[in-house]
């Protein structure tokens, strides 16, 4: 159960934690997230020393290593500004698991303080920026895939669809079993490749069955998985990070 979060008023500045997947594979999504925030009059600080939130070793059971990686991020956000993360997965790691990971260590208080300032991008755009969007794109039908971490760990099933709902020319259609996992799960896809493959196959079929040729997601792990499956099958369905989709249609 995600605790009810009290949202602050729109701040002057925010930190942006890009995540390693965005950094390496989808940097435009990160930049588009920054642009959306800047358009709301917010100055975006991007600490250049950021690397990874530490989730991969964390979910693999290597908690000493995860703690060391996470500890290296804690000092990057010294001012009390919100920390915006364009991923429910990394956001959930920082908000939910940092306090657990540092419990009983000298950095426990700092980890709690940082965790309390973490917001997933769509959450921040909806609840703090009260974002208004003017859709300049062509009429289009899209499917939203909300990541399991955004949906369950962060309690954000609604924020992605809420943003897409603000686009006048976009029809949002729901896939069958929308809340079911796409089968990525980080190292799960590598440790149990056949089960993961069966899951992503079902997910692509559900998306394809809507007739839409584009799906939008707020997590690059899911995107890599689902879009990778579509591409492998040479299907015309494309995936896009929600930040890029929103920026592209409204800029």
């Amino acid at each position: 159960m995600t605790p009810v979060k009290c949202y602050p008023p729109k701040p002057e500045r925010v930190y942006f934690f890009g995540t390693c997947l965005v950094d390496l594979f989808y940097p435009e999504a990160g930049l588009d997230g920054i642009r959306l925030l800047e358009r709301e009059g917010i100055e975006v600080l991007f600490p250049q020393d950021q690397t990874c939130c530490g989730q991969p070793p964390y979910t693999s059971g290597y908690h000493d290593e995860a703690r060391a990686v996470a500890a290296a991020q804690l000092d990057l956000f010294p001012e009390p500004w919100p920390i915006i993360v364009p991923s429910g997965s990394c956001g959930g790691m920082m908000r939910t698991h940092y306090p657990q990971l540092f419990a009983g260590t000298p950095q426990e208080a700092q980890a709690r303080e940082v965790a309390g300032r973490v917001f997933e991008l769509t959450e921040f755009l909806v609840h703090v920026c009260h974002l208004r969007l003017e859709d300049r794109g062509e009429p289009e039908t899209v499917v939203m895939h909300t990541s399991c971490s955004a949906r369950r760990e962060m309690g954000l099933a609604e924020t992605g669809p809420a943003l897409l709902g603000k686009l006048g020319q976009v029809e949002l259609v729901e896939q069958a079993r929308a809340s079911e996992c796409c089968g990525f799960g980080g190292t799960f896809a590598v440790r149990h490749p056949e089960v993961s493959a069966a899951m992503v196959e079902d997910k692509t079929q559900a998306i394809e069955a809507t007739g839409a040729t584009r799906f939008v997601t707020s997590d690059c792990g899911c995107m890599m998985n689902i879009a990778g499956r579509f591409e492998h099958q040479k299907k015309p369905v494309k995936g896009e990070h929600i930040a890029s989709y929103l920026w592209r249609r409204t800029s």
Binding site: M1, F16, G18, C20, D23, L24, F25, P27, E28, G30, L31, F46, Q48, D49, T51, C52, G54, P56, P57, T59, S60, G61, Y62, H63, D64, E65, A68, V69, A72, Q100, C148, S149, R152, E153, S179, E180, C181, G183, F184, G185, G186, T187, F188, A189, V190, H192, P193, E194, V195, S196, A198, M199, V200, E201, D202, M224, G228, R229, E231, H232
Partner: protein, 483 residues
């Protein structure tokens, strides 16, 4: 239609990958589970739609936590109150000891035939095989368990043991094993099985059942069921033996209704079950029916070891509703047998390592995408994903080392890989350089990345990292402002 053949199959958690491969390639299994799980999920969702589910789950979790907090005391009170009611209480440290105790009770009554109500703990300790080796025939009377036993299989789900079978397969089993006429008429098959079982209830020397809630303050054993077989098992034979894990105890009688409400709705989407049995004593003087003796066997079998750990303790909250497996995208695809354990699915993956050790079960804690669906539906709010991660930690030797087989997956190469990752991620300059390099060298990146690219395209590193894009973006903006 020809009779489906059902070779006797055994499953082991050691063979998870092979068993998953087989299940994934079996369209019948895939379809049976998908259909059944979709149905169960919809039923649960509908029945809770007008409930304040979060408040009820909170209540359920707190009742279980309170019971566990007082577990040693409650077990003693349960024993004393059962004894006062005339129920004889036995303690078993292991499954083998529980089997031996039950066999000795049977032998003391010269029992040759045992009828069984549904009991997962009896599956866990392989009671039927133990009794059969001693010349005592044990027959399952729950319809699903009966079918699975006829088919020489084990249950594939803790609530619906035969959920892996469809109507045609069931018809084939009943025909082959009992001579029942082949049909697709479910009512006909149910009636046939009922008639077959009815005779056996009358002839059984001993009835063995499980327990859903054992109430400490009253010495009452609660049994939840739909078919009436539980009531027959516990009332018709002259001796009733109830067997349960030590964690099933609750403090008060008033603790039962909320847990019962959560159990039936989470499990099968029912407001109540057809039968709810409260067993308080053997037959009393002047009563005309009921067993002359009632025994309660309390089984530890690794549970008190789980109890010692303040985090793993949450595993023992479970009320065995099966909602976690019904909602698990992995279980839905591979089915229950693939896990090779008595308890499959998410709860099985956090419980079985304690019962069987991590050497046997090392592939189970990783058999989850950590999607969180299990934790979301658990009626007593067990943080199943966190416990899966904790067991991964134990597997690689970074936990407290108190789970049997801890450290079994520790491999030098993997430790070195994570240490290298740690080093890279704590040296931001090197990190930035490496990420930038990956983009520049993407032509050299392999287009095949092990199992990932069996069914997906390989992700391509971007030409420019976000770090670099942001730098450029800020520089441009800065220039713009100066101009």
């Amino acid at each position: 239609m020809s009779a489906p053949t059902h070779p006797v199959q055994t499953y082991s958690p050691r063979e998870f990958h092979r068993q998953a491969h087989d299940a994934l390639g079996n369209p019948q299994i895939r379809a049976n589970f998908r259909k059944a799980m979709d149905g169960l999920m919809a039923k649960r969702r509908d029945i809770f739609s007008d409930w304040d589910l979060e408040t009820l789950r909170e209540l359920g979790a707190n009742i279980r936590l309170r019971a566990l907090a007082k577990l040693p005391d409650l077990l003693e009170r349960l024993e004393a109150n059962c004894a006062a009611n005339g129920i004889r209480v036995h303690w078993a440290e292991s499954g083998e000891e529980a089997c031996r105790l039950i066999r000795e009770i049977c032998e003391a009554h010269d029992a040759k035939s045992v009828i069984k109500g549904k009991s997962m703990v009896s599956e866990e300790m392989h009671l039927n095989a133990h009794l059969e080796a001693a010349g005592i025939e044990a027959l399952e009377s729950d319809l699903g368990e009966y079918l699975v036993q006829l088919n020489e299989q084990t249950p594939s789900h803790i609530i619906m043991p035969a959920i892996h079978l469809n109507t045609d397969e069931i018809s084939g089993i009943l025909h082959d094993k009992t001579g029942t006429e082949r049909t697709r008429d479910v009512d006909y098959m149910t009636a046939a099985a009922r008639a077959q079982l009815r005779e056996r209830f009358m002839a059984a020397d001993v009835g063995i059942s499980g327990v859903n809630f054992a109430v400490a303050e009253t010495g009452t054993l609660c049994l939840v069921e739909n078919e009436g077989n539980g009531r027959m098992t516990t009332t018709v034979p002259p001796v009733h033996i109830a067997v349960t894990g030590i964690e099933k105890v609750v403090e008060h009688l008033r603790d039962v209704p909320p847990l019962y409400a959560l159990l039936t709705r989470s499990a099968t989407g029912q407001h109540v079950t057809t039968y709810f049995n409260m067993i308080s004593s053997p037959r009393k003087t002047g009563e005309h029916d009921g067993p002359r003796e009632v025994h309660l066997v309390l089984v530890d079998s690794g549970r008190s070891n789980i109890y010692q750990d303040d985090e793993l303790l949450d595993t023992l909250r479970c009320i065995r509703c099966g909602a976690c497996m019904n909602h698990c995208p992995v279980y839905t695809r591979v089915g229950g047998h693939t896990y090779g354990t008595t308890y499959p699915g998410p709860i099985g993956s956090i419980l079985s390592p304690h019962l069987m050790g991590l050497e046997e079960t090392k592939d189970l804690p990783t058999a989850s995408s950590l999607c969180g669906a299990c934790g979301e539906v658990c009626p007593v709010k067990i943080p199943i994903p966190d416990l899966l991660v904790r067991l991964r930690k134990e597997s690689v030797g970074e936990g407290r080392g108190n789970v049997p087989g801890a450290g079994v997956k520790r491999a030098k190469s993997e430790v070195a890989a994570w240490k290298a990752f740690q080093w890279l991620a704590t040296h931001p300059g090197v990190w930035r350089g490496s990420m930038a390099m990956a983009g520049k060298l993407k032509a050299l990146m392999p287009s095949r990345l092990g199992p990932w690219t069996e069914c997906r395209s390989a992700p391509k590193p971007a030409k420019t990292t976000l770090h670099a894009l942001v730098k450029r973006h800020h520089a441009t903006k800065h220039d713009g402002e100066e101009r």
